[in-house]
């Protein structure tokens, strides 16, 4: 964590800012309007990267949880919590931008298409994870429970995917994109990736500071 700090503190905010500006510029000025769907299709350049980031968050939670359970690293535990919070934010962004797009195109805010169902359930799993953290308190045990939930949650994804796809199926699949669109998507993804990393980093710093303060307070109580 220490070796990464100078880079994360100095470079990431600037990188995120520049990439975000570039992404906004490309979405609104550079990329051509889609022929069938019109201007509303531009939300897609935020929607898809946000979806990817929420999945990334999920896998980060699982990876960090496994590392915490089997190697006992405290930082990994904090990292899992930070990733769950950031992932939850992106997951919410996916649902909101998706709804904004679906209303003019499909005529409804929400429908039970496989991918929508999947995202909704992932959102509830994230919510359960965070609730466990909040309601459970700050003990070592709760950290372990949360890690178990993080791992089981990821194991759930493949079956969830199968059952939801068998269940019903109108989400558009991207088959071919104009080069301008592909470039815009790429820049947006990069910008979101920077944002993801930066938020994760900020939250991780905050959480480890909080853990340190709690430890200091315990020691102060023990001394007095």
């Amino acid at each position: 964590m220490k070796t990464f700090a100078p880079f994360a503190d100095r470079v990431l905010p600037w990188l995120t800012g520049i990439a975000m500006l570039a992404a906004l510029g490309m979405v609104f000025l550079y990329v051509p309007t889609e022929r069938v769907q019109g201007v509303v299709q531009r939300v897609f350049y935020f929607h898809l990267p946000a979806a990817w980031m929420s999945f990334l968050g999920f896998f980060t939670v699982a990876g960090a949880s496994a590392s915490f359970l089997w190697q006992g690293s405290r930082t990994a535990d904090l990292c899992a919590q930070a990733a769950a919070e950031v992932g939850m934010v992106f997951c919410t962004v996916v649902i909101l931008t998706g709804s904004l797009w679906a209303r003019p195109i499909w005529g409804v805010w929400w429908t039970w298409d496989p991918r929508l169902t999947m995202v909704a359930i992932l959102w509830t799993i994230y919510a359960a994870y965070l609730l466990l953290r909040i309601l459970g308190g700050d003990s070592e045990q709760v950290a372990r429970y949360a890690a178990v939930l993080g791992i089981v949650g990821v194991l759930d994804i493949p079956i969830l995917y199968i059952s939801v796809r068998l269940w019903r199926g109108i989400h558009p699949k991207v088959e071919q994109m104009a080069p301008e669109m592909a470039w815009t998507l790429l820049v947006c993804t990069a910008a979101f990736l920077c944002l993801f990393a930066w938020l994760l980093w900020l939250r991780l710093c905050h959480l480890s500071l909080r853990a340190e303060v709690a430890a200091l307070r315990r020691r102060a109580v023990a001394v007095s």
Binding site: A127, L132, V148, L155
Partner: protein, 217 residues
């Protein structure tokens, strides 16, 4: 494992609390639905299937909580953990106990529900016990793992359903689909049975492997 399972069974035989409360709860849920929905609606196989599973899930939550609360209340669970076998065995015993109790409750509740809902009898109903059993196995595997966690936190009543329900979604989708197909008198619903089976296998193994992390003191 058998000793632990036998202990839970004997406890239940003496008090009969858990079975009685589960049975009444499941029945009440079915009745609430019967009162709430119009008779035409109730005849649709989709509704009946959903109803059966809602009742089972709620009764199951209660059963899971009882399974660990009995021991948690007087600190007996530490005693169970001190026994000379690994945590995976404890998991299997608790899991088997849950499957057993829920199955016994469903043996009574499912036929009653079918009668209340005026389901047409047909040969395809013979698959129903298998479906219910597969559902109970998956539910108990996942549930045992999370109930062990939830009873040791502050907000145990809230946490168990919040943790369990999202993860159970694939199981419930599959279970309701098979059940409604069976009730409608369809032929062998192979795909969904396979999904159920995959879920069961995956979560029994996961629970067995990961349970030691949950109960560590």
């Amino acid at each position: 494992m058998w000793a632990l399972l036998w202990k839970d069974i004997r406890l239940e035989l003496r008090t009969k609390e858990r079975m009685a409360s589960l049975f009444v709860l499941a029945l009440l849920i079915v009745l609430v639905f019967v009162f709430a929905l119009s008779p035409e609606r109730l005849r649709s196989p989709d509704v009946s299937a959903a109803l059966l599973w809602v009742a089972l899930v709620f009764a199951g939550m209660l059963s899971l909580q009882r399974a660990f609360l009995v021991e948690q209340e007087r600190g007996c669970f530490s005693g169970v953990l001190l026994c000379p076998f690994d945590a995976g065995t404890v998991f299997l015993a608790k899991f088997a106990g849950n499957v057993l109790f829920l199955t016994l409750v469903q043996v009574l509740v499912t036929p009653l529900t079918l009668v209340f809902l005026e389901v047409q009898l047909s040969w395809s109903l013979l698959v129903l016990p298998l479906v219910v059993l597969l559902g109970i196995i998956g539910f108990s595997a996942m549930g045992t793992l999370f109930a062990a966690m939830a009873v040791r936190t502050r907000a145990r009543e809230v946490l168990l359903p919040v943790l369990l329900l999202p993860l159970l979604t694939p199981l419930l989708i599959a279970a309701v689909k098979v059940t409604s197909a069976v009730l409608a008198g369809a032929a062998w619903p192979g795909v969904w049975l396979r999904v159920l089976l995959a879920f069961d296998v995956l979560f029994v193994i996961t629970g067995w492997l990961i349970f030691s992390q949950v109960v560590q003191e």
